[in-house]
Point group: C2
Amino acid sequence: MAVPYVHMLQSATVLRKSNLYLSHYGCGKFNGKRGRPHVAFASIQQPDRNISIDPKVELLLDSVKWDNKGLAVAIAQNVDTGAILMQGFANRDALATTISSRKATFYSRSRSTLWTKGETSNNFINIQDVFLDCDHDSIIYLGKPDGPTCHTGSETCYYTSVFDSLTEQEAKGSRLALTSLYALESTISQRKAELAERETGKPSWTKRLLLDHNLLCSKIREEADELCQTLENNEDKSRVASEMADVLYHAMVLLGKREVKVEDVLEVLRKRFSQSGIEEKRSRASQKSEQH
Amino acid sequence: MAVPYVHMLQSATVLRKSNLYLSHYGCGKFNGKRGRPHVAFASIQQPDRNISIDPKVELLLDSVKWDNKGLAVAIAQNVDTGAILMQGFANRDALATTISSRKATFYSRSRSTLWTKGETSNNFINIQDVFLDCDHDSIIYLGKPDGPTCHTGSETCYYTSVFDSLTEQEAKGSRLALTSLYALESTISQRKAELAERETGKPSWTKRLLLDHNLLCSKIREEADELCQTLENNEDKSRVASEMADVLYHAMVLLGKREVKVEDVLEVLRKRFSQSGIEEKRSRASQKSEQH
């Protein structure tokens, strides 16, 4: 909460929380023009209060192409893993509140009210940055979730694979929408779980690595060395990518062995490099002498 | 195109392309029941054709909670990086076409027509899997883009940071919505670009690594060794995460030096492990003897 507009927005948030927000819900295109509804509204509802909204926030809210219901799609994404956590809708107030509170906030179409993800579950999504798309009608809430996002307890709301449904004879257990790095992490974790099962035949390479620390560590050292050799010998790019894939895979087996999540590693990197939005700028200013 | 429903859906796609799809646009909730519109429709429009839609695809399409316009939000996500590429809307036909063609397809609300991303630019999004959310009213198209997704030529449509707009005195150049790994990659690439600039003061650590191959390689080997030690000495999890972060960062500087993208590394891993949807199952079946 170290940026000036946060404090300036608090007053608007207080007004909203007293259930007055409906007065300016959909105030953009609905009125045929993009006005300054907060200001006019405040002066009517609370004549004694000196409401001052940062004009930049107003401009920003005005720049969003709200639909004819005053809404835009809002997608919450995990800042470290890139996982799409959930998708909802935002109106002016939801976006303003997300910016001011740094907690992902949506407009519930069924309940006709604002809601901050986590207000009942405590699983807030802590905003690192917010992005608009090229058309300014779609929003990304880039944030760090405090816990599972889905009301079902699932990490994200996307755990129903269409292709699983279409190809499996029997309905399969849920499978999260995982991108490559996390699909690999999940495979390693699966192989680890399978170690407990009695198996016939040759164990997979991942299982052999999980079972034999010496083998795993010698492979990690060997692959790191081979990655270095791609630079030292000026090998081609596809070789660099392939050797890096080897390093990453073997190091991830070690993470799996120790039950350390890739997400935790990325959180370490994010905090070290602080590349997310204004945090980055603040850290850049204060750490100039010790920059990476 | 090795799954049976693909071929079975082709006939439906042909019908749609002859501009008949409006007859069953919004056929879900609109009719007060969830029927089998493709079949009835086909028998009326093309009585001679033996239309046979995989009942599983029909069921799947029926299971989506289309809104009162017959639409659901569809988010295209890069399967390797997790980047949200774009967001549009899908109707029944758009989802059916996405499943059958394996190219991300949307319904254009402004043009009232289906459109496959890439049909004019050739920058298709090649679908690896499709996910529904817990409410079945939001869809992820998980795919590999052939090129930039945005019509502006940007990699994704999300390049306007709200926090940049609010905090910068001057409007800043566009900045993609990057998650931690790619924010770090971008920082390294920035440091590399800055090497050309005349600088006073001590160069950053990243720049020193970029300038000195011996230093970079000795650090990669050293950090890999330290990661192994966390296993060998049974050090705590936070130490494992921290050492892995060191390995990843230094290896990424090497990637930056050689201009190899993390995305390319992840593509290698995806293809090796083939964890995306049905591909994974097919590879699992055929590679049982040499499984990872």
